[in-house]
């Protein structure tokens, strides 16, 4: 009973007075302990404890934290309620444990590795994302977002919004236009179908580095309407202007948002000469050749390293434009053209570009209706290029001959570490052999990386 108290005394050095008082009380009460069986030290908590408790209770009105001693801060933080208003806590508390509690109480799944191992950042990013996801233009108060800006602007680095709700009026119209077909509804709603304009928010976040947007509605179920998924031209304009103003942006993802050629060109026009942009992801959109040409222009007018255009409708013209850009480019390291219709013409163009290119490390040409000619050209690429490490030809019709040619080309190659030829109709034997070669290359690369990095000092 007395031992923990003594321990407390020894720890509670700074509050000398209450400590001594309690000591005196101890001495005084020692006589009575025997007589009074109901006596307990626990009934009288320390003054520091009481103070801390008081601070915790009144933290909202009178937040005292910085002036406390470290161990007291710890106690206060452990006891603080997670429901305190953000205006109080946002800029005052930087303790990770507190924010961890906030996060885990609010969300079941919390993968901190996606948020730079910072609970606070995670909390604010997800909080902001939630607000944006539930934001309904013209009905939700825009101050809800604006008030949050000063609180979270120092912590938000990434915005991942996979849902933008359209204005509410549409629902009423929907009811009225239920009888008519969806086409007319499409034309009717364009005027008032604009989503929330991110410009104000994004430009106010100085540390924003990654932006992952999807203009669409999740879990609509039986309420599905085409116009729920309408990324309007106005939206595109707003977004493009906002992204241009956002100078620290490194990663920009705009997926599943019905981005067509015009919008792509609009976006690209605003993204030209962007100082930081490294990754661009426009997958699962409706980009055709013109859009691809615009993106090709962007490749050489920016610092893009990663470009993802998978699941679009790029045909050989767009692929040729991209290939042309690729031939001159020296920054792009990864290109993804999965699920397009590049076909042999585009594939050959890209292959030719890769003969001269020395920076690209990874290329994905899966599901592009490629045939033998591309394979022949790529066998040549494999013999010449020494940077390319990852090629994906899955789901193409390369044929047995194409596979053999690739195997031949791979014979002298030491750089390639991954080569995906699944469902490419190259034959099991060839695939196995290629796998062996690639495996050997990978081992060699691993050994090389083992040899070299330890030589470097930590």
């Amino acid at each position: 009973m007395q031992q923990p108290a003594a321990g407390d005394k020894s720890t509670a050095v700074p509050s000398l007075y209450p400590c001594q008082a309690s000591l005196a009380a101890d001495l005084y009460y020692t006589h009575r302990i025997i007589e009074d069986p109901e006596w307990s030290l626990a009934t009288v908590p320390h003054l520091t404890e009481l103070c801390l408790q008081h601070i915790v209770h009144n933290f909202e009105k009178n937040p005292i934290l910085d002036r406390l001693l470290p161990q007291h801060q710890r106690k206060v933080l452990d006891r603080l309620s997670t429901g305190l208003p953000l205006a109080v806590t946002a800029n005052l508390i930087s303790d990770e444990d507190y924010w961890k509690r906030c996060c885990t109480e609010r969300w079941q799944v919390c993968d901190i590795s996606n948020y730079g191992d910072s609970w606070k950042r995670m909390f604010f990013e997800r909080h902001l994302e939630n607000i944006l996801k539930c934001f309904i233009p013209n009905s939700t108060d825009p101050n809800q977002v604006l008030e949050l800006i000063p609180l979270c602007k120092d912590y938000v680095r990434k915005l991942e919004v996979d849902q933008f709700l359209p204005p509410v009026q549409v629902d009423q119209k929907e009811e009225r236009d239920d009888l008519s077909d969806t086409g007319s509804d499409f034309g009717f709603g364009t005027v008032s179908m604009h989503h929330y304009d991110l410009g104000v928010l994004i430009t106010a976040l100085p540390h924003l580095e990654e932006l992952d947007l999807t203009y669409g509605v999740k879990d609509c179920g039986m309420n599905f309407e085409w116009n729920l998924f309408n990324f309007t031209h106005q939206d595109c304009c707003n977004l493009a202007v906002a992204v241009k103003m956002c100078h620290n942006l490194k990663v920009f993802k705009l997926t599943r948002s019905k981005v067509d050629d015009d919008k792509t060109r609009l976006l690209v026009r605003h993204l030209l000469d962007h100082p930081c942009l490294v990754e661009l992801n426009l997958s699962h959109n409706l980009i055709r050749d013109k859009g691809a040409q615009a993106v090709g222009k962007l490749i050489n007018r920016s610092r893009l390293e990663t470009l993802d255009l998978c699941n679009n409708q790029i045909h050989h013209l767009g692929a040729q434009a991209l290939a042309q850009a690729l031939a001159e480019n020296s920054t792009l390291t990864s290109l993804n053209l999965r699920l397009n219709c590049v076909e042999d013409k585009g594939g050959e163009a890209i292959g030719r570009a890769l003969l001269t290119n020395t920076t690209l490390k990874s290329i994905h040409l899966g599901s592009n209706n490629l045939c033998e000619p591309t394979a022949t050209l790529f066998s040549q690429v494999l013999t010449q290029n020494t940077t390319l490490a990852n090629i994906n030809f899955s789901c193409n019709h390369l044929g047995l001959d194409g596979g053999k040619q690739l195997l031949d080309g791979l014979a002298d190659n030491k750089a390639l570490t991954e080569f995906d030829l699944r469902l490419a109709e190259v034959g099991q034997e060839t695939e196995y052999l290629i796998h062996q070669v690639v495996w050997a290359n990978r081992e060699a690369a691993r050994l090389g990386s083992l040899q070299h990095p330890p030589a470097k000092p930590l």
Binding site: R338, L339, S367, N369, C395, R422, L423, L458
Partner: protein, 757 residues
């Protein structure tokens, strides 16, 4: 992996050329492994690299160590191999797993592409179909519409009805076809919906499969990882145990060696200790002796020092007393000094105040004296004024005194002369009447003298002189002579010189002939009329010529400030000189005239000269003055100007001389008066004395006789009176009343009283 490398490094360290630190190094490494500090790790890595390089070098140098190394390497590689093997297996597992998982995606992609291809095909077909349909339907519609035109031409109702029927049928056919197409499309839509549902199902299946696979993959990988980890750990433990054993053995060996060495050291130490003890004892004895001697010496020293201390104390006491006394004295002095200082201060203050007072006083006095000075200056002025006044008065008094003097002189002279005359008369009477001798009146020079001796003639005023000159000019010759004579008569033996002097002064004018002087004066009066006031000029006309010139001259002299006789003489003289200078060359006669003038003066000095000579000379001088007549009227002004210029100088020269001349010579006065007093000579006086004595005697006799006569007369009178009185007394009644009447007694006394009287 790293730990394995560490073990390898440790082994390499064991192989290193320096075998001694090896046993210590190994446990250190073993200890450092569980808690890997960054520095230790760096150090370990360096060692590893060094070992590797060493190994390479050795390989290059020779194969001597090769078999051993190979052996050891084989032994060491056990854990390594284990790791490699498990790593490869795991990598394969991972690859397979990802392959399995991604297979689903790839399959989905393939399906999607296939679907797309089919879709595209179907779409094409559909579009073709629709186009065909549209074409056919439009052709049919055109056919129908063309028949409408035909129908208008129809007139026969049956035909029309038939046509209409046909049309209806065709329309129905068209509609049917359209409806069929719509039905087909709707069927297709339904199919698509079903396909969509199937696709969704398929997708969910895929996702399920994916999840399953992923979970399975995770499970398997976890399991294998754990397994492999265990295996690796086992391998490592084994290795560690072996290493520990090895090291322990080495350690024990080293400990044993160390123990033996320690024992040896101990023995050596014991021996040395004994030796040192012996040395110590020896040293102790020596030191004791030394100590004793030292002690004695020091005690002596102490005694000496104590004695000195006592002495010092005594001196100290003495000095202290002295100093105390001095201190007292100094304190006293100090007190006195303070008193004196305060006094001095007070004095200083007092003196300061005094000084201030004096300063103020000084200022006051200065002011006062300034005022006084001013007043005195004023006084001085006043006094000088008074002085001047007094001088003026004095001059005036001098003049009056002189007058009075002459008057007194004359009076006294008169009186004296009267007395003298009386004396002479008495003498004459004595001589003639008493002695009966003839008396002759004595003749003395002073008897005729009137006025004070040596008294200059009062200077005549210039105008008077001028008037005189003018007047005399007419009766010139005679008057001069007369005057000469008069002088000759007047001059006696001693008075001659006096007259000579007087004459001397007059000479310049005198020897300039009156004529010339007159001539000059007349010229002056006429030519310098401008000097005369105009008021005066008018009444002058009434007067005669002579008077007019006089008046004119008077005013001219007033203007030229010519007051005295001398000035006039000078003026005339100046005229003549000027003329003489002018005419000196041409007139040879003028110069002998000048010489004559000097000659004349010499002659005068010689004393009384003959009147003849004078007379002879005067015409000459008149001759000499002839040329002056020719003085041109125009020159007068020039001459006057020059004269006025020189005249001032002359005046100044005279100024002092004039006053000296005023002082009279009174030396002869005494003589004069003495002579007057002794007018009766000595023998006569003696005679008088003897006569006087005789007469005195005669007089005495006479006086005695006279007094006796008077006495007799008085006595007679008294006698008569007394007789009367006696008669009276005797006759009175009183006498009868008395017992004894005085008459008895009176008879006796009365003659006594008469006798006494």
């Amino acid at each position: 992996m790293r730990r394995g490398a560490g073990a390898e490094a440790a082994a390499a360290g064991g192989r290193a050329p320096a075998p001694a630190p090896a046993p210590a190094l190994a446990p250190a490494l073993a200890l450092s492994d569980p808690g890997p500090g960054p520095e230790e790790r760096i150090a370990a890595r360096r060692r590893r690299i060094a070992a590797r390089l060493d190994a390479k070098r050795r390989e290059a140098l020779g194969e001597d160590a090769e078999p051993k190394v190979a052996e050891e390497e084989e032994e060491q590689r056990r854990s390594h191999k284990q790791i490699e093997e498990s790593r490869q297996r795991l990598a394969k597992l991972l690859f397979d797993g990802t392959q399995m998982v991604t297979n689903i995606q790839v399959a989905a992609d393939l399906r999607e592409t296939q679907r797309r291809a089919e879709e595209a095909e179907l779409k094409l077909q559909r579009v073709e179909k629709l186009e065909n349909e549209a074409k056919s339907s439009t052709s049919k519609f055109e056919e129908i519409t063309s028949k409408w035109a035909l129908a208008k031409e129809m007139t026969i109702p049956q035909e029309l009805w038939q046509l209409l029927n046909q049309q209806q049928q065709q329309c129905a056919l068209l509609l049917e076809e359209k409806n069929k197409l719509i039905g087909d499309l709707q069927q297709e839509l339904k199919n698509k919906d079903e396909q969509y549902v199937q696709a969704i199902k398929k997708q969910s299946d895929d996702i399920h499969l994916l999840l399953e696979r992923m979970e399975e993959q995770i499970r398997i990988t976890l399991k294998t990882y754990r397994h492999k980890l265990l295996q690796i750990e086992k391998a490592f433990e084994l290795e560690r145990r072996e290493l520990l054993d090895n090291n322990r053995k080495k350690w024990e060996k080293a400990i044993q060696a160390h123990n033996t060495q320690e024992l040896e050291y101990l023995h050596a130490r014991m021996r040395k200790v004994e030796e040192f003890e012996k040395q110590l004892n020896q040293l102790r004895v020596e030191d004791e002796e030394e100590y004793n001697s030292m002690k004695i010496q020091l005690e002596n020293d102490v005694q000496n020092l104590e004695r000195q201390l006592q002495q010092m104390k005594a001196i100290y006491q003495l000095n202290q007393e002295k100093l105390d006394y001095n201190l007292q004295v100094l304190k006293k002095q100090d007190e006195e000094n303070t008193i004196i200082r305060s006094q001095q201060k007070r004095k200083l203050n007092r003196l300061h105040s005094l000084l201030n007072n004096l300063r103020t006083k000084l200022a006051k006095q200065e002011k006062q004296f300034g005022e006084e000075n001013q007043s005195l200056a004023a006084d001085c002025e006043r006094i000088t004024g008074q002085c001047e006044e007094v001088q003026r008065r004095m001059r005036h008094f001098a003049v009056s005194d002189a007058e009075k003097f002459t008057e007194v002189w004359l009076m006294n002279e008169e009186e004296a002369k009267g007395l003298m005359r009386k004396a002479l008369d008495a003498d004459r009477i004595i001589h003639t009447q008493q002695l009966g001798l003839p008396w002759e009146e004595p003749r003395y020079w002073f008897l005729n003298n009137v006025g004070p001796l040596g008294h200059y003639k009062a200077k005549r005023m210039a105008t008077k002189l001028a008037a005189e000159v003018l007047r005399e000019s007419s009766s010139e010759g005679q008057e001069e002579e007369g005057r000469e004579k008069k002088e000759e008569v007047g001059s006696g033996e001693g008075g001659k010189e006096n007259t000579v002097k007087v004459e001397d002064r007059v000479t310049p004018l005198q020897n300039i002939s009156k004529k010339t002087a007159k001539r000059i004066l007349e010229l002056v009066s006429e030519e310098s009329g401008f000097l005369i006031e105009s008021k005066l000029l008018r009444p002058l006309h009434v007067l005669g010529r002579h008077e007019r010139t006089l008046m004119k001259l008077d005013s001219i002299f007033a203007a030229l400030e010519i007051d005295s006789e001398d000035d006039l003489y000078q003026l005339v003289d100046f005229f003549l000189k000027y003329k003489a200078q002018e005419v000196a060359v041409s007139q040879s006669q003028g110069s002998p005239g000048g010489e004559d003038v000097t000659d004349l003066a010499e002659d005068r000095e010689d004393g009384g000269s003959s009147a003849q000579r004078d007379e002879l000379k005067s015409p000459r001088s008149s001759l000499g003055s002839l040329p002056s007549v020719y003085i041109h009227a125009d020159d007068i002004l020039k001459i006057l100007k020059a004269f006025v210029r020189d005249f001032d100088k002359l005046r100044e020269k005279d100024g002092s001389a004039k006053e000296v001349l005023q002082v009279r010579d009174s030396s002869k006065d005494g003589e004069y008066w003495e002579a007057l007093a002794h007018v009766i000579p000595e023998p006569t006086l003696k005679l008088w004395d003897a006569l006087a004595v005789a007469l005195e005697e005669y007089y005495e006799v006479l006086t005695r006789r006279a007094s006796l006569l008077a006495e007799a007369a008085v006595l007679q009178q008294q006698n008569s009176e007394l007789c009367l009185l006696l008669e009276e007394y005797v006759s009175s009644g009183v006498n009868s009343k008395l017992l004894s009447p005085p008459t008895r007694w009176m008879d006796l006394k009365l003659p006594c009283a008469g006798e006494a009287r």
